[in-house]
């Protein structure tokens, strides 16, 4: 089993940042009350990041991936998480063979 030094530092950095976000709420529990636009911006962080990560694969790789992403999005509102993943993977395999 190998352990790359740069990879280890990256993992430790991710772990430290994550732990910081987890305990930060403990110290601002009395003060952090977001409302209106600030709250909307804060709530938008998770979907905004998730979409930014996958947008190149979903939109600019090819037609098979773009159509499969659209099919997955439709399935996502009707199926549990694993079912959605299964639909997406099957769709992309079929479309790559067709297109």
């Amino acid at each position: 089993m190998s352990l790359d030094t740069t990879t280890l530092i990256a993992i430790l950095a991710m772990a430290l940042v994550t732990y910081f976000t987890r305990i930060a709420g403990l110290f601002v529990a009395d003060r952090l009350v977001l409302t209106g636009r600030a709250k909307a911006a804060f709530d938008a962080i998770p979907p905004a990041v998730l979409v930014a990560v996958i947008a190149p694969t979903a939109l600019t790789t090819g037609w098979a991936e773009a159509i499969a992403a659209a099919i997955t999005a439709v399935a996502a509102f009707r199926l549990p998480l694993l079912g959605t993943v299964a639909v997406g993977v099957i769709a992309v395999v079929v479309l790559r063979n067709l297109i």
């Binding site: 990879t7 909307a40 709530d43 199926l79 993943v85």
Partner: protein
């Protein structure tokens, strides 16, 4: 048992309640962990590296985002920044939960290492009826943590035998998983504007400038769009 006398809270009852609440979540997370390990192995991470990342970071969304954009050598600052953005929601979750937990400051500092969307949501629900004790929290935390670390390690071992992920469409599993996660945030106007802005900017930046800049620029575009799209006088 738990319903018989709702005013008495014993460690034994809290442990039973914790196990009962976390069991379905752990079952659902198992294949996600296997998937994470398998794809991480296909991207060139060793089994030990996968195990360490799951055990120390213990945050599925951030780990999936890191693996999706994984290159060698690992871009430390980019990964740390993406992790901060994705996990920033923990601050609000911790702030909301803290008045409801019956633990000392030191216990809470240890307990919050295990803060996840799932443990938080279950604890908020339980807090409607009674305080969240250390026994309840830690039994959920340890089950979820062991489940995630073990399943991703096993996934990494199995994944190194699977070979090219493209062949079985496994490279698209991330994209499908993220689409599923985004759908969980609903179809409100603000969310749709956020998703559209983030997707458009990320795709354009990736096409014209390249990775990994699309993550931060797309995310910031989505957040700015949400700020502008939200009504100014909205109540929380």
């Amino acid at each position: 048992m738990d319903q018989a006398n709702p005013f008495v809270s014993t460690p034994r009852r809290d442990i039973q309640a914790g196990l009962r609440d976390i069991a379905p979540v752990a079952v659902a997370a198992l294949p996600i962990g296997l998937l994470f390990g398998a794809i991480a192995a296909a991207k060139g991470m060793s089994t030990l590296e996968v195990m360490l990342m799951s055990a120390l970071v213990f945050a599925g969304g951030a780990q999936f985002a890191a693996i999706e954009t994984w290159i060698h050598p690992a871009p430390i600052l980019t990964l740390a920044f993406a992790t901060l953005l994705i996990n920033a929601r923990h601050v609000l979750m911790g702030a909301s939960l803290t008045p409801k937990v019956r633990m000392s400051r030191v216990q809470t500092l240890l307990a919050y290492f295990f803060l996840t969307d799932e443990a938080w949501a279950l604890s908020e629900r339980r807090a409607l009826e009674r305080p969240v004790t250390g026994a309840y929290w830690f039994v959920m935390a340890v089950v979820l943590w062991a489940n995630w670390t073990l399943s991703s390690t096993i996934g990494a071992i199995l994944g190194s035998f699977l070979g090219s992920p493209e062949r079985i469409g496994a490279d698209f599993a991330f994209t499908a998983l993220f689409i599923g996660l985004v759908a969980g945030f609903g179809k409100s106007r603000v969310t749709l504007v956020t998703v559209a802005s983030s997707a458009a900017v990320a795709a354009l930046v990736h096409y014209f400038i390249g990775a990994p800049w699309h993550v931060a620029s797309g995310a910031l575009a989505g957040i700015a769009a949400a700020y502008l799209a939200a009504p100014q006088e909205a109540r929380s």
